[in-house]
């Protein structure tokens, strides 16, 4: 039953919210959101001490029943989802600093999104995974359209078309894999696919990976991400950046790294180059843009490239690096977006050409941004340093020097765009000389949310041993047949 809590708790909360009058929704949602990390922690504790947990819905015999399984990787990502949900609700409690409008659909959609993500992390059935992808997609679409302006509707359309194309490819891949093997359960599917001739397995797995790459916003399928994310309110943008592309990446780690192991080498070689181009194109896109939200959205693509590079190494150490990078990126990117929202609150604009003077006006915020930016670039000792170090070291150890060189080059471009934000938003005086930093009223919940994230990121950077030990064990148990 514990395995199912990442799905049942938020889903039940979403449904209860729909039945309640608007005044009670926020409280019900908060109760569900507070329960979720407790479930996640219990799940992680159980998994660490007793190994992977599984349950088959309805007690049907395998491989017919729909199995749910949680291992260390699932538990870690469920915890990230639970944390981000609480961060969003805390931010919303303040109601200022670019918060989402309190529409009656907001809480159900939020909880539904987290339910879809949580369920995707614990399912052990390919068709079931597709269903959770769709639930997440539908809730994400609802949240994108929430503000209802022309910009949001336009963004929703772009997001809809490209993501629906991705899920349709996923469904086609699932159907063809079922046609070829007669299985959907991960373990049975893995065994049956290994028995297929290479000429059939390779196209099927390529189609499946293609679908996940669209979901993960990798080059050249990332167009939906920078076209839509910047129209979201800040807390939702943080949630989307921390969670949505991660589901695609998680699915890649789970399928290529565990279920279909050993997957064809050609797939990983291509994936490595996709990763390199994603890293570079994301970093260059970020260097071009001036809107804080768009810079950060393009950065996500670059960081997703690093994670894909680690997956492309096709080794337990590579998978461990990928998982560590996913955790780091979720936390740091969400925190940076919330920092951007505070910049917006102080200056009234997200565009770097319209802001400035924050080093003098908001010294605390400057320090927070500096710490987060250093982590994103990968300056030791920070979470970003350990994550990048693991990826680049493993790339070099496996003799992929060219990939490692590109990864370092993308890091240099990241340094440039972070420096740009620092110089424009904090260092340069505000373009309007009469500007004064507004009072910090009603910002306490926002500061608490950002502060909590920051503490976690700092503990990650300063005490990396336990985090690295956890992801190493997670990557090992991936192959040990979860």
């Amino acid at each position: 039953m514990l395995v199912l809590t990442p799905l049942l708790v938020p889903l039940a909360t979403a449904l209860v919210c729909l039945l309640l009058p608007p005044a009670w929704q926020q409280r019900a949602s908060l109760a569900g959101a507070l329960l979720l990390p407790a479930c996640g922690l219990a799940l992680a504790g159980e998994v660490v001490s007793n190994g992977p947990l599984t349950v088959v819905a309805g007690g049907w015999p395998l491989p017919f029943g729909i199995e749910f399984a949680a291992d260390r990787l699932s538990a870690a990502l469920v915890l990230v989802a639970a944390l981000m949900l609480n961060v969003v609700l805390l931010w919303q409690a303040g109601g200022s600093a670019d918060a989402a409008p309190a529409a009656p659909t907001l809480q159900p959609l939020l909880q539904g999104l987290v339910a879809g993500a949580g369920a995707a992390f614990v399912t052990a059935d390919l068709f079931n995974l597709y269903v959770w992808f769709e639930l997440t997609l539908i809730c994400a679409l609802g949240l994108l359209a929430l503000r209802g302006g022309l910009r949001q509707l336009d963004a929703t359309l772009k997001y809809f078309v490209l993501n629906v194309f991705g899920t349709l490819l996923l469904l086609a891949a699932v159907a063809l894999l079922y046609a070829a093997t007669g299985q959907l359960n991960f373990r049975a599917l893995g065994a049956a696919t290994a028995a297929l001739p290479a000429g059939i397995a390779l196209p099927l797995l390529t189609l499946l990976s293609l679908a996940f790459l669209i979901k993960a916003a990798a080059f050249p399928f990332f167009a939906w991400l920078p076209a839509s994310y910047h129209t979201l309110p800040a807390p939702l943008l943080a949630l989307f950046s921390a969670l949505l592309a991660k589901i695609g990446l998680y699915a890649l780690v789970r399928t290529l790294g565990a279920v279909f192991q050993p997957a064809p080498d050609l797939l990983f070689a291509v994936l490595g180059w996709i990763a390199v181009v994603s890293m570079l194109s994301g970093a260059l896109g970020a260097a071009y843009h001036w809107d804080l939200r768009r810079i950060l959205a393009f950065h996500s693509i670059s960081q997703i490239g690093y994670i894909l590079l680690a997956i492309a190494l096709a080794s337990p150490a590579g998978n461990a690096a990928a998982i560590l990078f996913m955790l780091h990126h979720s936390l740091v990117k969400a925190a940076l977006i919330l920092t951007a929202a505070l910049i917006f609150h102080a200056c009234g604009h997200y565009d770097l050409r319209r802001v400035g003077g924050l080093y003098a006006g908001r010294p605390g915020l400057s320090l927070v941004f500096l710490l987060l930016a250093l982590s994103l670039i990968g300056i030791p000792p920070s979470s970003g340093f350990w994550s990048k170090f693991l990826v680049v070291r493993q790339t070099l150890l496996q003799g992929e020097y060219l990939w490692a060189a590109f990864a370092l080059a993308a890091g240099a471009v990241t340094l440039y765009s972070m420096l740009k934000i620092w110089l424009e938003a904090f260092w340069k005086p505000h373009p309007d000389e009469s500007w004064r930093a507004p009072a910090n009223d009603r910002l306490l919940p926002a500061h608490a949310a950002l502060g909590g994230l920051l503490l976690l990121i700092l503990s990650f950077g300063l005490l990396p041993e336990s985090w690295i030990a956890y992801v190493m064990a997670a990557a090992d148990s991936l192959r040990g047949g979860s």
Binding site: F127, V131, V164, A175, R294
Partner: protein, 128 residues
């Protein structure tokens, strides 16, 4: 029979892809829905077309006699419901976009990503 189904789904997916690549908003969305239906047909056909008998265990029997494969039927029902929800959402979205933007030409929809100013500089974004 399986060849007829294969040809039908190839035709549906091809027609859907053609429509989906249109610049007209409604054609694009209908095309995507059509591709979705083609892929639903693929899901259905993935369990092979063994028999036309519904998969019910006869009263008193312990085992299913020769009948259609029930699993793809369950899968395709789920997939149909999902594609129906997405179609509903896309139609409402299209109506709202037509009302707000006043144009069904997707190439003119640049509200979320404004065209660069002075040739190369990114345009100023609206904030909300």
């Amino acid at each position: 029979m399986i060849w007829a189904v294969a040809l039908a789904l190839a035709a549906v997916i091809a027609a859907g892809t053609y429509l989906a690549s249109s610049r007209d908003l409604l054609r694009c969305l209908i095309g995507l829905a059509l591709v979705g239906n083609g892929i639903n047909l693929l899901v259905f056909a993935s369990g092979r077309l063994l028999s036309q008998m519904p998969p019910f265990v006869a009263s008193g029997a312990q085992q299913l006699a020769v009948a259609a494969n029930p699993l793809p039927q369950a899968l395709v029902l789920t997939a149909i419901v999902i594609s129906f929800v997405l179609l509903c959402f896309s139609l409402v979205l299209a109506i709202r976009l037509l009302q707000t933007a006043g144009s069904a030409d997707t190439a003119k929809l640049r509200a979320a990503e404004p065209v660069a100013v002075e040739g190369s500089k990114p345009a100023l974004e609206e904030t909300a």
